[in-house]
Symmetry: C2
Subunit: 214 residues, 2 copies
Amino acid sequence: MSGQGDKNIYWHAPEVTVHDRRDANDYRSCVLWFTGLSASGKSTLANALSKAFHAIGVNSYVLDGDNIRHGLNKDLGFSPDDRKENIRRIGEVSKLFVDAGLIVLTAFISPYREDRDRVRSLFRDGEFIEVHVKCPIEVCERRDPKGAYQRAKAGQIRDYTGISAPYEEPLRPELVIKTATMSKQECYAAVLDYLGKNGYLGSELARKALLLPV
Amino acid sequence: MSGQGDKNIYWHAPEVTVHDRRDANDYRSCVLWFTGLSASGKSTLANALSKAFHAIGVNSYVLDGDNIRHGLNKDLGFSPDDRKENIRRIGEVSKLFVDAGLIVLTAFISPYREDRDRVRSLFRDGEFIEVHVKCPIEVCERRDPKGAYQRAKAGQIRDYTGISAPYEEPLRPELVIKTATMSKQECYAAVLDYLGKNGYLGSELARKALLLPV
C-alpha cells in the first residue's frame, strides 16, 4: 500500500520543451553559478549582468539570499545539513528556470565543492556554468559592508565562511573572475565574452550587451 | 551568537524589478493556480495554455508533479505535513517566477483550502488567480488514465483525494472551469477571456491566442 502518487507520477513530454523555447530566442538558457566568499562581488556582478540582459531582451533572473532565504528556504538554518539542503533546492529551482528558457544567475557563497558538483549533475552538459568569484579574504574583509567579518572574528557569528567555516574553491570552474584586480567593467565583460564565445548569447546580443554602461 | 547570515540577510531592491519586466511586455506576470481532483483536467488545460502563450511570445511555465515531485520536492511524501510543505514550496517557486515576469501555471490537486490561501497570501493583489477545475468525481473516475481511482477504491493507494482523503473546494476562486460539461476549447477560451478582460494579457495578445488551435 503506498501513498497517493507513488505510482501516480510519471514523466511525459511537456507541451512546450526547452528546445522550443531556445529556438524562439537568440540565446540559450543556462545557469551562471557564482560562488565565492562573502563580499567577493557575486551579487553585484549577477545584478549588473541581469540588468544588461533585461536591456537587450534576454530573460534572466537572479536568485540570491534575499529572495531565497526569506521565501523558499526560510525553514532552513545554517547547519551543515541545512546548508546542503539550501543549495540543493536552489539547484532544483535553477533547473526549472533553465527549463523555462531563462538565464539564471545565482549568488550564493555555496562553499562546499560536493554541493556544487551535485547541482552541476542536475543539468545537461553546458547548462551549468560555475563562476568562481575570486577575491582574497583580506580584500573581502576590508569591503565587509555589513561588518560581518569583524563580528565573525569576534566570535559573534559562528560558522562564518573563510573565518570559522571552510570555503572550498572550485577545481575546474568554467570561469574565474578576480574582483580584487579587475574593474567591475572587466568582470562583467569577461562573463559576457564567455557567453558570446560559447554560443549562449548570439553574437549580436553579446555585442549589444558589451556596449551598455555597467 | 548566531549562524552566518542571521544578521547578514537584508532586503534591498533588485536591479531589475518585476515592474521593469512588466513594462517591457504586453502582459502581466501572475500565477494561474489550477486546483481540482486527479484527472479533472488541470495539466491538460495548463499545457494547452502554455503552448498558446509560447506561440504568441508570452513567457510562461507549467509547474506540475512531473517537474516538482522528481526534483525540488523529491524529499517529500504524501503525509499531511509533507503535502503542506509541497504546496508551500510550489507557492514560493511560483512567486519567484512571477517576480521574473512569467505567467506560471500550476497543476496540483492542492486539496486543502488553508494551503492554497497561504500561497495566495504570498502574492500581491491580483497576482494569484485560483482556477477551480471542477469535475464530478464519477467523471474523473471514468477518465482515470492510470487506474489510480480503482486502486484507491481497492485500498491499494491510501490517502487518495476524493476517495480516502478530502478535497476542499475553493470558496471564492477567480475562475471555475467545468471540464465535464465544457469542451477543451471552451475551457481554454474561458481562461484567456479572463486574462484579457482583467488586463493580464493585452487585447491584441488575447485575440491572437483565441485564434490558435487548441
